[in-house]
């Protein structure tokens, strides 16, 4: 996904545009830029929270019941085979929440982003004010992350009484890992959506991106089951890094070297995604 965007040279760029300074006079601090959009996003939240409840909380619980409890009831395996989890439910929950973080982040950063560019033109209206493209991206990502973080927190709290967590502090770190997954996917997918000209590209993203990642990034079964080659491919996916972190903390089988690697990968992807998001949106809005 990232390399596609890096090679995009089709958007109109003015020839010999004078270099823009890093911080124009009168530009807002990152905090001020987001604070000014607080009321906007609050009204968006007030309008959409009801639908959000279903997609954020109800859908994942259906997954837990179906996959964790009902299907998982048939699975008898040693903790060794389940990356240290004492039951299949304990194995699948951390993975489910991490992949839920991804799904939410992706769905909040696809059609709504394109809508703000093409259909509602919200970004154009916002850009006619002292706000800059960077401020729009920051506030947007902050809003999506609020949705992702709250949905994952509720999910984790609901699962706590089922005895799937090995320690009291592990789930907190696992929740932070899920938030990190949200950040990486929000910024990368925002960048993709800001670059995309028509919504058909989203079908591709869901079919070739989200669904395979959900199924094969270790959320539902240990990736060691995939065989050596596919296992390594799975390890290269961003979601696996999130699943890995989330599960290590939940089942308390922590390999700190792996934690560092997982965190570095997700943070790096977030930073790359953010820069691409700002760059692509800037190009799209300059007409």
């Amino acid at each position: 996904m990232g390399s596609d965007m890096a090679s995009d040279t089709t958007s109109p760029t003015p020839s010999a545009a004078p270099a823009r300074p890093a911080r124009p006079t009168g530009s807002l601090s990152a905090w001020e830029g987001m604070a000014r959009q607080y009321d906007y996003w609050l009204t968006v939240l007030k309008r959409t929270w009801r639908g959000g409840v279903v997609s954020s909380f109800l859908t994942p619980l259906l997954y837990v019941v179906a996959m964790g409890v009902l299907l998982g009831g048939f699975i008898e395996a040693d903790p060794d085979q389940l990356e240290g989890a004492t039951s299949y439910l304990a194995f699948v929950v951390p993975g489910l929440v991490a992949s839920h973080a991804m799904t939410l982040a992706v769905s909040e950063s696809t059609y709504p982003v394109m809508g703000s560019i093409k259909w509602h033109k919200t970004f154009f209206a916002q850009l006619a004010t002292p706000l800059a493209v960077r401020d729009l991206v920051n506030a947007y990502v902050a809003f999506v992350m609020f949705r992702v973080a709250s949905a994952c927190a509720v999910f984790m709290l609901v699962m706590a009484p089922f005895g799937v967590f090995a320690t009291w502090w592990g789930p907190i770190l696992a929740w932070l890992s899920q938030v990190l997954v949200g950040f990486a996917f929000t910024t990368l997918v925002f960048a993709y959506s800001a670059w995309l000209k028509s919504e058909e590209g989203f079908g591709l993203l869901f079919r070739l991106g989200v669904i395979p990642l959900t199924l094969f990034s270790g959320a539902f079964f240990p990736i060691s089951n995939l065989g050596p080659v596919l296992e390594w491919i799975a390890r290269l996916t961003p979601l696996w890094h999130g699943v890995s972190l989330s599960r290590m903390f939940c089942v308390d089988q922590i390999d700190w070297a792996l934690v560092v690697l997982n965190v570095v990968v997700l943070v790096t992807l977030t930073v790359i995604g953010w820069f691409l998001a700002v760059r692509n949106l800037d190009r799209r809005l300059e007409v």
Binding site: S15, T25, L28, R36, V44, A125
Partner: protein
């Protein structure tokens, strides 16, 4: 307020604005006229400091859009060609939330929003959804929104396109009141009556360049005659008859349904035509308008 020197805008190989010089003074209403594709909107977006200048010099309120964009935008009001209202917010929230982007505190925002609803005559619609508004109401709301920060300079890109005559007159009235209140207006339009009504000074743009500049009166004096005699003959006769009377005016134009004779004394033209034994079905003598100037400068053929 605005000063442009050799201003250009290009998109790849296409040059939308090909080096224009413009000076807009405080308190005046300045118009950009031109057919579609003349470069008006590109110029407006550069002035609005959302589209970087390709080359040339541009100063808005004494500042450079390349380095002072946010500071300039904080003092501008922008009414874009296409409504960019938030359809999912109600009318009041569209104003209130927009004000917050400018860093206006919440209490002041509410107060301003109520004032502007009054001004735009949509107070009773405050809680309505934007999508339920008529075209004229949306336009008035867009203009109200552009005033939320008390701008020094108001940019209006084709403010009345698509509105019915009543709605246009209400809008003109409001823009006139703003001008009286000292707001500098910059308007693009392709309606000549609008330009004559609103603009103190204007430029006619064509294919990215400025074709003429001045007050509506000056432009008519410079590019047309005082009057126009319109002569209607039988269908198909106009071409041949034009040759017989072309000496009567400074310029003659043949249209499918009539002849236009440009002269300072229209009645004399009609008398002379009758003296030559020609009998038009209908005659009309009228003053030259900005539309005559516009068509003279930008041609009658379609731009796109």
């Amino acid at each position: 307020m605005i000063s442009a020197r050799g201003l250009r805008k290009s998109f790849g190989d296409f040059e939308a604005v090909k080096g224009i010089d413009v000076e807009v003074r405080r308190g005046e209403a300045f118009g950009f006229l031109g057919p579609n594709g003349a470069g008006k909107s590109s110029t407006m977006r550069m002035i609005a400091s959302v589209s970087p200048v390709s080359s040339g010099e541009l100063r808005i309120l004494g500042m450079d859009p390349a380095t002072d964009g946010p500071a300039i935008r904080g003092r501008l009001g922008v009414c874009p060609q296409e409504d960019t209202l938030d359809n999912e917010l109600n009318v009041f929230d569209n104003l209130y939330i927009y004000g917050r982007y400018f860093g206006i505190d919440r209490a002041t925002c509410r107060e301003r929003a109520h004032e502007l609803l009054e001004f735009a005559q949509i107070t009773e619609k405050a809680k309505a959804k934007v999508e339920d508004l008529s075209g004229g109401m949306k336009r008035r709301l867009t203009i109200a929104r552009s005033l939320i920060n008390n701008p020094d300079l108001l940019l209006l890109d084709e403010p009345t396109t698509g509105l019915d005559p009543q709605a246009r007159h209400v809008l003109w009235d409001q823009l006139f009141r703003l001008k009286q209140a000292g707001v500098t207006l910059v308007i693009t339009t392709h309606y000549m009556d609008e330009a004559e009504q609103l603009c103190d000074r204007l430029v006619v743009m064509d294919k990215g360049r400025i074709a003429a500049e001045g007050s509506p009166r000056q432009l008519i004096d410079a590019h047309s005659t005082r009057e126009v005699a319109e002569l209607r003959f039988g269908v198909g006769e106009h071409e041949a008859l034009a040759e017989k009377i072309e000496d009567l005016g400074e310029r003659i134009e043949v249209l499918p349904d009539r002849l236009l004779v440009y002269s300072d004394h229209g009645e004399d033209v009609v008398t002379a035509v009758l003296d030559r034994g020609l009998h038009p079905i209908a005659t009309l003598v009228r003053r030259s308008t900005l539309e005559d100037v516009f068509l003279r400068l930008t041609g009658r053929s379609l731009a796109d």
